[in-house]
């Protein structure tokens, strides 16, 4: 039993049945899943959700899937209070939604991929695929195994070995493609057209993006059926931010949370910030950029849904900022030292931007704030390697150890805000 009515074009409103299409046949705008919220009322309740499994599938009624095929242990990541960051920033209430420990490949992508691949199986596809430089590839390859479908992963030929292994371990067919970024991109679009595979983020995009709502649902439920007043999320292709907001709005519509007019804030790296630039200019035209940043997982110069991020920021009354590579590294270290969480540059960007927005006064210190951490630092060792002083070596003599303790006593200090 699902509450899905079909697909509806976000631009012209044209409706089609729920099929594997992503661009409107009338105007080439993007399709989005449409639900029957009236039918849900009284049936989809706090109790019905709480009685569901301890995974993202507890929100199945609000997802476009009949039978989940994978992701049975994905989602329901911790929402943690961040007392040390609160102290450091002088804020009353900071929460961290921590997808650095999302299962099984440690990023928010488990959410979108679980939904997309389950839908692919429902549509009868036996092969799924994606083009990705990291997190999406890891997640697609892993969930394809659980769902029992074949998997193709397309990557640029010069991708670092570590990133290749993180997907290869799950046994997909990987294809390394020569050429510049645009060439690879173009070929992947053609592959999606020609082979009739379920490319998780292309022809299944309307279903894929719905999975990101669970990030927002979980924040609301874990906060005790309440919404944070301010949510800071990274932006790459533009999936997660609008969908967290849609998740909030659906809970409001169903009467599961009170409408406290939540505001959304977009975080991008200074070396790839097409959406933040548009926000600052007050123009909804997202001008493509050539990315140049250590935050590779969010370096998308021509985001598919950038325009919708812009709209949500404007409608909700939020804002956007960017962080330089140095600020990103500082923020990664700060999160480690203050809250014991190791995130990748996407999370560093989000924290650095949150700090900026708080210091600018855009986000009031006495209101509730949620920082979205979407990926794990173990995948990006190279980004912090040079920033961390390598430990010294001593002889196996107690007096040499004592000397270290003495020196520590002189220099020990509280974590500082390098970004101030």
């Amino acid at each position: 039993m699902t509450y899905v009515k079909g697909l509806k074009c976000k631009e012209c409103g044209h409706r089609v049945p729920a099929t594997p299409v992503h661009v409107c046949e009338q105007c080439f705008g993007p399709y989005e899943v449409e639900y029957d919220y009236e039918a849900m009322k009284g049936k989809v309740t706090r109790e019905s959700i709480a009685a569901g499994p301890h995974s993202l599938w507890r929100y199945k009624d609000l997802l476009p899937v009949d039978v989940p095929r994978t992701g049975f242990n994905s989602g329901m990541t911790p929402l943690r209070r961040a007392p040390n960051l609160e102290k450091l920033l002088g804020c009353r209430e900071i929460w961290i939604k921590d997808d650095s420990c999302n299962y099984p490949t440690y990023s928010y992508k488990e959410r979108v991929v679980s939904v997309s691949i389950s839908k692919a199986v429902e549509f009868g596809f036996d092969t799924v695929g994606c083009a990705s430089t990291g997190n999406l590839a890891n997640s697609t390859a892993a969930h394809a195994v659980t769902a029992g479908v074949k998997c193709f992963v397309m990557i640029p030929h010069d991708l670092e070995q570590g990133k290749v292994l993180g997907s290869l371990i799950f046994g997909p067919t990987m294809v390394r493609i020569k050429g510049n970024y645009d060439d690879v991109n173009r070929l992947c679009t053609e592959i999606a057209d020609k082979y009739g595979w379920a490319i998780v983020n292309v022809n299944l995009r309307p279903y894929y993006t719905e999975g990101a709502k669970t990030f927002g649902f979980e924040i609301a439920e874990q906060l005790g059926w309440k919404l944070p007043q301010h949510t800071i999320s990274p932006t790459a292709g533009g999936t997660i931010l609008p969908k967290i907001y849609k998740g909030y709005q659906e809970f409001i519509e169903l009467g599961l949370v009170e409408d406290n007019k939540p505001k959304m804030y977009s975080a991008q790296a200074a070396g790839c910030n097409p959406v933040v630039t548009a926000i600052h200019k007050g123009s909804d035209i997202i001008e493509p950029q050539k990315p140049n940043t250590i935050a590779k997982s969010i370096a998308i110069g021509n985001p598919a849904d950038g325009y919708y991020v812009y709209n949500v920021i404007k409608d909700s009354g939020g804002w956007g900022e960017s962080a330089t590579d140095a600020e990103i590294v500082d923020a990664i270290r700060l999160l480690g030292k203050t809250e014991g969480i190791w995130t990748e540059p996407a999370g560093g960007t989000t924290l650095a931007v949150a700090i900026k927005l708080i210091q600018q006064g855009r986000i009031p210190k006495d209101e509730s704030i949620c920082i979205c951490i979407t990926g794990n630092g173990l995948k990006t060792l190279e980004t912090v390697q040079d920033a961390l002083p390598y430990p010294e070596v001593i002889n196996a003599k107690l007096n040499e150890f004592d000397a270290i303790i003495d020196r520590l006593g002189e220099t020990k200090s509280e974590p500082e805000l390098a970004t101030v």
Binding site: E11, S132, N185, C188, G237, N302, A304
Partner: protein, 84 residues
């Protein structure tokens, strides 16, 4: 009716298959649709162009359909598909 603006790839098959000046014909038939060529690579046998079409949704659709019937391949330009 809402005005829309869309980018397309226009692929021209071999010269022997399409000998007419299709883009010119299209602009005659749909004078209200503004077209802007953003990128082009035309060789002897095959050509490809990135074209921005702007106008009433109905008109843009008609223009696209006209070109397709005339033998061009018209595909919407995708945004980035490679994700992190």
């Amino acid at each position: 009716m809402a005005k829309i603006s869309r980018k397309f790839w226009f692929t021209f098959p071999t010269k022997t298959q399409v000998q007419r000046p299709v883009i010119w014909e299209m602009s005659r038939k749909f004078p209200e649709v503004v077209f802007d060529i953003r990128q082009a690579s035309v060789q002897d046998e095959i050509g490809i162009m990135a074209v921005l079409l702007e106008g009433e949704a109905e008109q843009v659709r008609g223009a696209v359909e006209y070109c397709r019937v005339a033998g061009l391949q018209v595909d919407p330009i995708e945004k980035t598909v490679i994700e992190g």
